[in-house]
Symmetry: C2
Subunit: 204 residues, 2 copies
């Protein structure tokens, strides 16, 4: 699909029809602007402007800047704000289990191909690595850790990221058996205690 | 460097001069043959033949097939057999610590660039992923786990691989702080208990 006409036209005044072309133009503009300016630096206004649509269309189609990022860059089938709420909804001592269960369920549903594509982007483009670093650690994991109230929040966020990344690599990219095909309960029993310790346990 | 003359010449009789050109020809041939046939399928004889040198030159220059693989494909600055001996030399309850300490020390010494290059190869070429899967899990980690005598050796090997990969990604590829610059003792205190549990603890 070529959406370049949307980007070369002068900015439209007010709303344009909120149809699929608006959504596609926003996705395309978001991929460009997030990589150019980073997750924090990219504003909803700047992305909408690049797409030639009203800023309200971002909320209409994606719920939030995080939701647009998740769809455009991560191709995640869930809004990150919804995901954070879901992770925090339950006893703190089971946060490790909730993370593993959600991670495996979400990426298994996409066949793992989107996780592999994301890892390829990270390892081949420094700007993509930077924007994902900001998003995963500063936006997603820090919110979870702030809620838990643990000390050493930044180190805990990176340790958690290391096991989550590694789990995804072995399951979806290098696909090492028996882990790659293990059922979600086996993965939870093995990995959840690691994340639980990184998030709320003794790490020093 | 173009070593193709070594590969198009007919196979020489007996030894050729064991100089740097032999070593370079073996490295080039090894990269090709390992990717074509996998780690198990590539024989010392077939690699030496591709390089147009005597098979004894592999031991002379690299100590073993594992040593040649480590240099040619992983660009590891250590022979894997030496590494396994070093990992197994000490109390089993400290194997997690020895793995983390050796991993960080070895890849820190290369500036992490070689780890990042390896991850890029894994994620962009399915054959490289396969040969590394065979090497790391079947050759390296299984030998460690066989020595420890734990049950569920294959699942333990893949869990261990997941945290080792993830540690490398966060430290050397995505470089998320404070983990990317943490001193080795901080990394050991945080990660070693995870590997220890995956290798000898309760995972189910």
């Amino acid at each position: 699909m070529d959406h370049s006409p949307n980007r070369t036209e002068p900015k439209r005044r007010g709303r344009r029809a909120g149809g699929e072309d608006t959504r596609a133009a926003l996705l395309q503009a978001a991929r460009e602007v997030f990589v150019e300016r980073g997750f924090e630096g990219a504003t909803v206004r700047s992305i909408a402007s690049r797409a030639g649509v009203d800023a309200a269309m971002v909320n209409h189609w994606f719920g939030s800047k995080e939701g647009l990022f998740a769809k455009a860059v991560l191709q995640l089938p869930i809004d990150p704000n919804t995901l954070v709420e879901r992770l925090l909804d339950g006893p703190p001592e089971l946060i490790g289990e909730r993370i593993v269960r959600n991670f495996v369920t979400i990426w298994d549903a996409t066949g793992g191909g989107q996780f592999a594509a994301m890892v390829r982007s990270i390892t081949s483009q420094e700007q993509v690595a930077e924007v994902l670093r900001q998003f995963f650690v500063q936006t997603l994991l820090r919110r979870v850790i702030a809620h838990l109230g643990s000390s050493d929040a930044e180190l805990r966020a990176t340790l958690t990221a290391s096991q989550i990344f590694g789990m995804g690599i072995v399951r979806y990219v290098v696909r090492i058996e028996p882990f790659a095909s293990a059922d979600v309960d086996t993965v939870v029993r093995a990995i959840a205690p690691t994340l639980q310790r990184y998030l709320t346990g003794d790490i020093s």
